[in-house]
């Protein structure tokens, strides 16, 4: 009980978002209808954004919502609605699938534990910590000076992806017109 009393308000909010994120993630893999999975995943993205806001990374939080929850998940929903996947998926009755996923899950857990045991986390000194680290001005300065080359390369990658999408979406001669 003493421990519970000592938790600050911010930490309560953090635990709330963390629990929401984990339950959303569990809902994604456990729910039987694809539509419910997608909605659970959206809840996870939202709680992650909440955690970003707690870290004072407002830009990251809102971009996470715009890109993942706002664009990508809408497309997911869109495709699921078009295909109208109403029948329940039965991956859990497929034995080899269950074995494979258990093994890969355990491997991942092992790896994470190994990495975290070896990892050295910088102790944070409150005196040197700047609360503006996550603000958009800082982020922009860093992206356009120190990380200029990777940033530009990523934009080239996006351009390639856009061209690819247009090429795939283009009607071929003699193709169906509708």
């Amino acid at each position: 009980m003493e421990i519970l009393k000592n938790i600050a308000m911010v930490e309560w909010v953090y635990y709330f978002f963390a629990a929401l994120a984990i339950s959303g993630a569990l809902g994604t893999i456990l729910s039987k209808k694809p539509m419910h999975s997608v909605i659970a995943l959206i809840i996870t993205f939202f709680s992650l954004s909440g955690i970003y806001v707690l870290l004072n990374a407002q830009f990251l939080a809102v971009v996470n919502i715009i890109v993942y929850a706002g664009a990508i998940m809408v497309l997911f929903l869109f495709v699921i609605m078009f295909l109208n996947l109403r029948q329940e998926s039965n991956e859990l009755s497929n034995t080899s699938m269950v074995v494979a996923s258990t093994v890969s899950g355990l491997l991942l857990a092992l790896m994470l534990v190994a990495v975290f045991r070896k990892a050295y986390i910088d102790p944070i000194s409150p005196a040197l910590f700047s609360s503006e680290t996550g603000m958009i001005e800082r982020l922009g300065n860093l992206l356009y000076t120190h990380y200029m080359l990777p940033f530009e390369l990523v934009s080239v990658l996006f351009l390639v992806a856009i061209s690819g999408a247009i090429l795939i979406g283009k009607r071929e001669k003699g193709g169906r017109h509708f």
Binding site: A71, V74, I136
Partner: protein, 378 residues
């Protein structure tokens, strides 16, 4: 500290109540304006000039049977309208409704919250707005609802791109994402609309499309899809969807007014402020000037809302492929040109001149080139 929180709380409550109240009376004025345009009488039974009509409507909607279709996904069916309303109300948090209020020796801005990502918050919430329609339409397990929902989603995604590009041009000129900063930089009559009229028109069309208003109300075409995504909804669930549309209209008008029409700024505001301060003293004068600015802001908002309604009762709706063609082949390229022109104009040091020359030059070259091309090859 306590008093700041209290005042902030009161301001947030007032903004919340205002959004709902204005949305309610939008339904009344929609009918009055429709009646005027179509030369009818309009609502005139409930109260003088039918002024109590929204209350009567709400009462009716609340007391109707709350019905869930047998094959519907029950929880999503219930959540759908809630999400629509929730997202519609969230974006009003960052709109700067006025300058600061002076209370004691504190300056409290009339705004829900002044975050440094302001306009991106609005954009994120707008992006979330699709879910209400998508989930509601899918959960009703009805073909027409599903088609309506799919149309709503594809339309919202398509027009979000042009919307985002127009926003980028405004951010570029201001150099800040905060809506308050954008508002302050349009002091007096230095409004953004004079620098980027094309950007404003594009933004306005996108706002019409994002609010599902005519001529972009494809998700609820009554001739083809009954009423689209809300076909299966009745009583207050339908009411919430309709209400969300009207709240969205109010919010998007407020955003257009603050991005392009200078929010609470009006020509001669400095003179009025000086005059009020000299007559009524420091605190009262300042507060009165601020409230006057807020009144001007609401005047701009009502003007936009009226334009929305005017368009609805004047123009017929697009066909679906016309909608897509307009969105992708006209709006997106034009918004990109607008962005480039504004970038050059901002760098050149003479923004007004270069912006007009650049945009005018582009349109001139494009249309003459196009007409010459068509003359020669057709």
């Amino acid at each position: 500290m306590e008093s700041v929180l209290l005042i902030k709380g009161i301001i947030i409550l007032v903004i919340f109540a205002l959004s709902l109240g204005i949305a309610a009376y939008e339904t009344y004025f929609e009918r009055v304006i429709a009646a005027y345009i179509q030369d009818r009488v309009g609502p005139d039974r409930a109260g003088p000039h039918g002024i109590l009509q929204p209350l009567a409507d709400a009462g009716k909607l609340f007391f109707k049977e709350d019905f869930v279709p047998v094959m519907a996904d029950k929880w999503l069916f219930i959540i759908g309208p809630g999400i629509a309303m929730f997202t519609a109300l969230m974006s009003s948090a960052v709109i700067p409704f006025g300058d600061t209020l002076k209370i004691g020796d504190l300056l409290v801005p009339i705004q829900g919250m002044d975050v440094n990502i302001g306009i991106l918050w609005v954009f994120g919430v707008v992006a979330m707005g699709v879910y209400g329609m998508l989930i509601g339409g899918w959960a009703s397990n009805n073909k027409y609802s599903l088609y309506g929902a799919i149309r709503a989603a594809s339309q919202a995604i398509s027009y979000e791109i042009a919307l985002g590009l127009c926003l980028l041009a405004v951010i570029l000129v201001t150099g800040s994402l905060s809506l308050r900063e954008i508002a302050t930089q349009q002091h007096g009559i230095n409004w953004n609309v004079f620098y980027q009229p094309v950007g404003f028109i594009l933004f306005f069309v996108c706002a019409l499309a994002e609010c599902n208003r005519t001529p972009f109300d494809l998700p609820e075409t009554e001739a083809e899809l009954v009423v689209g995504y809300m076909t299966e909804f009745g009583s207050m669930k339908m009411g919430l969807y309709m209400f969300a549309e009207y709240v969205n209209m109010f919010i998007s008008s407020a955003i257009m007014a603050s991005l392009y029409f200078g929010a609470y700024n009006y020509p001669g505001m400095d003179f009025v402020r000086e005059f009020l301060i000299s007559k009524l003293g420091d605190t009262t004068g300042h507060n009165l000037a601020t409230l006057l600015g807020t009144a001007v802001f609401f005047l701009k908002i009502f003007m936009f809302i009226f334009t929305f309604m005017w368009i609805r009762w004047t123009l017929p709706r697009f066909k679906y492929e016309q909608l897509m063609k307009l969105g992708w082949q006209w709006m997106v390229p034009l918004a990109m040109v607008n962005l480039v022109v504004m970038a050059v104009a901002t760098l050149s040091g003479k923004p007004l001149l270069v912006a007009w020359l650049g945009m005018g030059g582009f349109l001139l070259v494009y249309f003459t080139g196009r007409s010459m091309y068509e003359k020669r090859f057709n």
